[in-house]
Symmetry: D2
Subunit: 367 residues, 4 copies
């Protein structure tokens, strides 16, 4: 006999809808069709025109060329385990703290989701361990405690990836053999404890749906380097060395409004919006330290022939980039609009988990 | 057939010993006995003299009086779920960020401990979910992922307590009925998501072993209000409204050097060092926002007759204080000595866990 | 980044389809309509005619009368924890063993299901703990080990219910207070260890779809006392004191052929086929010792006004009956047909789990 | 704040001590020393004399010869996954059922142990999922449910081993490559579902402590082929083709009376009593189908140079033997004495766990 289900604990729709909602206006220019359309986006925005080209397919050979061209192996020594976090200097941490003015703090995590669904095949295992019904031998005092279990590399669990998480051609970051680095009992190197002192730096949000004037990007849509640069220009920001790139596609907003969907490839799933592979070189040139997307940066179906998920190996394996997946950027997008700026201090703190290939986490922006 | 155990993944002794160790010098004045002794502590310290009085036993009646006198129920409204976090204003967040100068980041978490032991009866459940041996249908690309499960309110799991965690006489913070607030399926209110935007503020370390000139406090030793004030004076700091009180007894250092011990009451355990209950009034007057101790603040055996753990109900239930347990403050103590100051920015980020009575976490100090 | 899913490990369709399938023949008598139809069922069967009446709704008052009329509280003493297992005498165990002739063994469990789905919101948590890549310090020897975690009272996890599992009006079997018997840390009495020596006895399959000449009963269809007696007659068997009633609706066959569905009430779910409450008196009179259904015996929507799941409280709470849920009886149905008999030895062995409200298990029939 | 621990749920001392205890009498013959002693064992026993020789060390080369000599690879076909279970014919199942006379059922499992200890580094994870405080929308009806998680290949979790569990020189039973058979996501072949129809057969207890007239064998003591044959003779039984060998060293009795100990090699552990490797040939010649020991059959330290655990690879990898570990045979030993016979029907039922390297279980003897 199964329990009757209580309403999903993972749904934060109420929380969101209780916040105020900006009215987004989508004005399509006359005479344009939906694909390749010109968009103006919202009230405050200057009229911005961009052409949405179909992403050109990239061959596997070209993928390997990109891989080689952005490879940071050995850049910070053979023993390095911090990758692009090395771009963040103490001065940059101080400068990031200097961005704190209003004191507003904004979570970028999805509430942990205990309910199985199309993008949550491994729901969070959550149980009370002890309730307030249990006397502890101390007068009228009781302690309630609980257990949380999470297979955190899931499509709706906000988490980060350790550098051991991804291998390409049998190697992980810095050219180490993947199966030596990750054994059946966990990682022996390049685990998440390399990040135990936390991610602290200047975050910059590039809000693509805002730029396009849409509520969200549809599954399969890829954002190119050209568009990223156009978003920067429209927002009046520029990402540079040691910056934390916060990338919004509206994935989570779509989920809140239309319901969860399966992010995998057709026919099982419907895919997701993300980056075009041509953005990789841009991130490499700009010396981005960390990448915090809603969705996970991947466009599904991808733009690379024969590689289902090309962004992760280029970021994590080749560049040694600090990467997080499945953020919730709706609160942040509203906060940026309210605060009138797209830069802020970011702090993200992984669990100190020896051997871990990543960690669930709850990074925040501070304004 | 059980596996042969690999060396404990939880032990970070190597990490510690690879850092540089300050030489602590304990000079006992001639003619003094060990209890009630005079200590000078370390090279840089001015000679500080303090009398170590035995904590006077507090009766249950007196405990209840303290409880009433520090009760913040209703102070921030009947619906309040943030308790003493309300003391931290946006201005204080900005001021805390202003403390960031060197950019040094220091974890205050114990590495998550997967190995059962005297203070770890519920070791972290950690498993690989998938290794780099599994093809994902994408050329030479593989993803390693894992699972973490943790009963986090343990004596060697760094975690925080939600306000629903402790009840006294059937009530939790703000006077709500404990068994309605925490059901067998988790908390319905006052859960850890009240803290989802994180703890950000000015942290101040009061380093009692440093003050006393000892390596650590022994189990059963209680720190009184008078001694806290003496430590403040010796360190040249003062805790005030909205501050985060970081309290070091050397619990974790003792564990690293002597090995784990059972923190419970004799005869099962050996107890632990912590606060005397007379410090509660001091925290209340000072309007402390959060409390981050090694150990968990409790002195075992306690100073209160009939209450095994008096500090938690006074802090969490009566005051609605943001409380964390089982921090690792050894790295922080060294950093404070290196940086020559005992104040810093603190950021702590709980998992966004609906219903949770707390969360494992990894708070950091930024200098 | 989530893994690409391997094919579900829970699907045993291959196993089933590799067995031979009997051809079921449904011959509808001329001039009858589908509802209220007359069926003859299969080649071997004598022509059996039965009228399928709609189950009459039972009021809550009538439910309570049934509850009182079948209540076995105190029948085997105030301290009894075995309930209807007391009906099985040592002689009956010996007689059951005497049914073993061909030596054929048949599992009645569904393969443990690790894949979330409409009837599996809490999939089995399964992880390798250690693989054959880990040297154990013993030459060329390795041990692979794993972890299984299961929230076993689910609609597609084969399990049994301990007598503490169900409460009605605040009481569990034998009139004990439910919240004293089950605390937040597990059961203090009437737990599954009352059954640690196992269920052993004579099993009798009543195969309702076979009787009706259908592949399975549709969700919402209820089997009445009259029909059970007709099935007995058609099959040439009779259930009596101490017998184990194996009840087939074809639930699992429907799942294998049409796919999983949500068993809950509309609109969330589609319901399921099971018993009419008028069968409870029959089970009580016959002194049935244990009940092993596919589905879980409940008809959803139920025949009782105001009680979503009336069968369980009548069986478990009132009668103290040994009850299992979510069996897989397809292999058994074929075995019965092959062996030409509907009775067999049953052995079912719960895990010896102190405090457990039940256990996952894998009961078998031996012919 | 950790909970105060309730008394261990794993301890079944009460259950044992509530049963009656036979008085064991140890009469040493005059003039003998303790090692190499002559024993008479108990009141009913005829005087039996045996010489306890120190087990001769076996070289790695000799181990490999034994491995080759008992190898059943290919014996039942290249695709075979049942190994020595093939020895049990339907006739033997019927004959085993014929042993049921008194109807007495006896569990051979240790209660599942939720408390960490020297032989239980991975305690059972057990939590209530829902208690009787949760309304399910159905009047006065509530369901309590729970979760069990177990890393079951532990030294005090009663479990069985699938044939994929052990590899020697990179190969598992039938010569398959170990790392193909067990991936990081579970077994692809030779998993525990090969045993889903259960273990049913004639069990024979060889009770070595009873034979020796001691309460238990001490850690490090090995039982030789000669002693097994002497025990058979003394007990008046003989194991033959298709039999289930139940092997008692008194491991669990020692645990109940002296407390748990670490079973591993010195210096971490104290070892355990088990089989000498010279018994392997005996099991092979006798065509034993299954092996059910307390302890796990291994003598620690072992009798083989360079192999920490020689019994498992010989049984599981070479012979393809059905093997269980960590049984509790105290109830069985008493039952055999009461019933006046050492043979009985055995039924053991693994969970139907696809991919599993074994399963927790609760096998029983039926007299």
């Amino acid at each position: 006999m199964r329990r009757e289900e209580a309403p999903s604990c993972g749904g934060e729709l109420g929380a969101h809808s209780s916040g105020r909602r900006r009215e987004l206006i989508c004005v399509r220019s006359p005479g344009t069709s939906l694909s390749g359309a010109l968009f103006t986006f919202d009230r405050e925005a200057t009229t911005t025109v961009t052409t949405l080209t179909m992403p050109a397919p990239v061959t596997l050979g070209e993928f390997d060329e990109i891989f080689e061209s952005v490879k940071n192996w050995g850049r910070w020594g053979e023993e390095d385990e911090r990758g692009t976090l090395n771009f963040i200097t103490p001065d940059m941490v101080r400068a990031a703290a200097g961005l704190v003015r209003s004191g507003r703090q904004v979570t970028m995590a999805i509430p942990m989701n205990k309910t199985a669904g199309p993008d949550n095949p491994s729901p969070v295992v959550y149980h009370l361990v002890q309730g307030h019904d249990i006397a502890i031998g101390s007068g009228a005092l009781t302690f309630a405690s609980d257990f949380i279990g999470v297979e955190f590399h899931g499509d709706c669990h906000t988490h980060l990836d350790a550098l051991c998480h991804i291998s390409y051609k049998g190697l992980v970051y810095n050219g180490r053999p993947a199966q030596q680095v990750v054994t059946s009992r966990g990682a022996t190197a390049l685990d998440v404890t390399a990040y135990s002192n936390g991610l602290v730096g200047r975050g910059v949000l590039l809000d693509v749906p805002r730029y396009r004037g849409v509520r969200w990007l549809e599954p399969g849509e890829a954002v190119t380097r050209a568009e990223l640069e156009a978003v920067e220009q429209a927002q009046g920001v520029r990402l540079g060395e040691g910056d934390i790139f916060v990338f919004r596609t509206g994935h989570h907003r779509r989920r809140l409004e239309l319901g969860a969907w399966d992010n995998r490839y057709p026919p099982a799933g419907q895919g997701k919006a993300g980056l075009h592979v041509d953005t990789i070189g841009w991130m490499h040139e700009r010396k981005i330290a960390a990448f915090l997307p809603d969705g996970d940066g991947e466009t599904v179906p991808s733009n690379v022939e024969g590689i289902l998920y090309p962004i992760h190996p280029l970021q994590v394996t080749a560049m040694g980039m600090f990467v997080s997946d499945s953020l919730q950027l709706e609160d942040l997008a509203r906060a940026c609009a309210d605060e009138g700026r797209f830069e802020f201090m970011v702090v993200g703190l992984p669990l100190r988990l020896p051997g871990g290939t990543g960690s669930p986490w709850n990074p925040i922006a501070i304004f």
